[in-house]
């Protein structure tokens, strides 16, 4: 999985490419933890993301909880397959998906 990060005055966009699963989720978790301080807008671009496993959902959940305290978190370009995963797991109820 590739993580491409763009920073812009309090706004961070993290674009993911490949599979977000138990092998790649820790990498994303570290990246989010390292870059989230002082950020009030976090955007995940899922345009090139193929798959999210439960380990990936866990990272999104913890990012969402952190961002609830300091700003907003948005997911953009979510594919139908990944949308299906969010629907089944009920994550549609807590994530801001555009």
């Amino acid at each position: 999985m590739e993580i491409i990060k763009k920073e812009d005055a309090g706004k961070i966009t993290i674009a993911l490419e490949g599979r977000l699963d138990s092998t790649t989720a820790p990498e994303l978790e570290n990246e989010v933890e390292a870059s989230i301080a002082g950020v009030n807008e976090l955007v995940f671009d899922f345009d090139k993301l193929e798959y999210v496993s439960s380990a990936g959902l866990r990272v999104l959940l913890s990012a969402q909880k952190k961002m609830n305290e300091q700003g907003t978190m948005t997911l953009i370009n979510v594919s139908d397959e990944i949308m299906g995963i969010f629907e089944i797991t009920g994550f549609v109820d807590i994530l801001n998906i555009q």
């Binding site: 439960s54 913890s62 909880k65 009920g90």
Partner: protein
């Protein structure tokens, strides 16, 4: 019973603390056998050198060289043969062989120092193979004494270095021989010996570390297999349910690692209501298994307090959230079946859609309304859905290990293949149905390693309980 067996295994693991000596003993036997072979090789070289000397290639005084060859051969053959007889399994063999080898080499050196300076380092290098610094140190001392004496001896018996004789232009004094012949070789000897000390010392440390690692691994393996048994026993067995002709139930689980996060549960809420749970904890292995134990107990306790599935899931969700377990979560499908009329009330916390087979049609996904996984956010609401099972209908629930099993091309088994599989065995009773679906998954993955736990529960309503 099995737990007791496993306990015994763990205790024997504790005894393994003392096997380090055994590791070094095994190594010593190997080293002895290697040394015996090297000695035989030295014997062959000695005979060859003597032959060359005999036909005039070298100019070593033959009487002296013959004596060295005969003594050397005898000593070498006796010690090597002893080593072969005992299969290397005597503590004194290494001392015997290393000392014989050093003394033989020293005598050859006395005969012809200039050609054989390299012999000085060989015993020390071989001694490294025992990974004992003390042994290597003692061999280096023996070598020093033996070769020092051999150097002096070479003045009287050997063919002292020709270039030294040439340089001095006549008879060599002992002092000259020591400075010109012994000293340079001895400096080189120490370079090799310092390296040898290090190899022996580090080699020993490496073996100790490796031993530690493998002992830890075997302890962890045993503990994990105990944990696996405990986890298996935490799941209910269909045969423990009171006798029932009205329905048939089958539960199947296959974990990807020793322990896993999938689980199922079933229990009577009252004599006419059967609750079925299937769940999947995020993550794998030990953390998932611990979380599984907590959530399983919370769910079954809450079911027994009564109430609708949506209320049960909402309460368990709050309890799990209170524990702040590092954003782990569990997906849960819960159904409570009224056995008098096949009416099922279900609630779904982020779990896969159940598949329903109404007799005479096909298995289809039941798209219930999903709430969030349990343990994510406290205060979440869940929704009750209803299913009516007629006599002969089957309810099938599963975890994503079924739909996300993949083949060598990394293509998922998928929901549609699962439905195809279910439909090709749709009239099978639950036991057969789950095993057929598992066979189909196995066939599909075709040797690709199982990545996630695979869990299935099938329920067939055969006839309603009469009240």
């Amino acid at each position: 019973m099995i737990i007791n067996d496993l306990k015994a295994k763990v205790e024997s693991g504790v005894k393994q603390v003392f096997i380090t000596d055994e590791v070094f003993w095994k190594n010593e036997i190997d080293a002895n056998m290697l040394l015996a072979r090297l000695m035989l090789f030295s014997a062959v070289a000695l005979v060859a050198a003597n032959t060359l000397n005999y036909i005039g290639i070298y100019h070593i005084p033959p009487r002296f060289f013959n004596a060295i060859t005969i003594h050397g051969l005898l000593e070498i053959l006796v010690s090597a043969v002893l080593c072969f007889i005992y299969n290397g399994q005597k503590r004194w063999l290494k001392w015997l062989m290393l000392i014989v080898l050093t003394l033989t080499y020293a005598r050859v050196y006395a005969a012809t120092p200039s050609r054989t300076a390299i012999l000085m380092v060989i015993p020390v290098l071989i001694s490294c193979r025992y990974y004992s610094r003390t042994l290597t140190e003692i061999v280096s001392v023996v070598t020093t004494i033996a070769f020092f004496l051999a150097t002096i001896l070479s003045k009287y018996l050997g063919s002292a270095d020709i270039d030294d004789i040439y340089a001095v232009g006549g008879e060599l004094s002992v002092k000259t021989i020591l400075f010109r012949s012994f000293l340079p070789s001895y400096v080189l000897f120490w370079i090799a010996t310092i390296a040898a000390f290090n190899i022996a010392h580090k080699g020993r440390k490496m073996i100790l570390e490796q031993d530690e690692i493998s002992r830890n691994k075997s302890r962890v393996d045993t503990e994990l297999s105990m944990a696996k048994q405990i986890q298996k026993r935490a799941l209910p067995d269909v045969s423990d349910l009171p006798e029932h002709d009205e329905y048939e139930l089958s539960a199947f689980i296959s974990t990807a690692k020793e322990v896993g996060g999938d689980f199922y549960d079933f229990m009577y809420v009252d004599p006419t209501h059967l609750a079925i749970v299937i769940a999947d904890v995020s993550g794998k292995s030990v953390p998932a298994a611990l979380y599984m134990m907590i959530s399983k107990i919370l769910i079954s306790n809450r079911i027994m307090l009564g109430g609708k599935p949506s209320e049960i899931l909402a309460d368990v969700n709050n309890q799990l959230c209170e524990k702040h377990l590092d954003n782990m979560f569990v997906t849960v499908w819960l159904g409570i079946i009224d056995l008098t009329n096949g009416h099922v009330i279900t609630a779904n916390a982020g779990h896969e859609y159940p598949a329903i087979y109404h007799k005479g049609s096909e298995f289809e996904l039941f798209k219930d309304k999903h709430g969030l996984v349990l343990g994510g956010y406290s205060g979440m609401k869940y929704v009750d859905c209803e299913i009516d099972l007629a006599e002969g209908d089957t309810l099938f629930v599963y975890t994503d290990g079924v739909t996300e099993a993949h083949n060598k091309e990394n293509v998922l088994f998928s929901t549609s293949r699962m439905l195809d599989s279910l439909n090709s065995h749709k009239d099978c009773l639950p036991d057969e149905l789950t095993s057929k679906v598992h066979e189909d998954i196995d066939l599909y993955s075709n040797g690709k390693e199982q990545f996630d736990d695979i869990t299935m529960v099938a329920f067939r309503m055969k006839k309603y309980i009469l009240q």
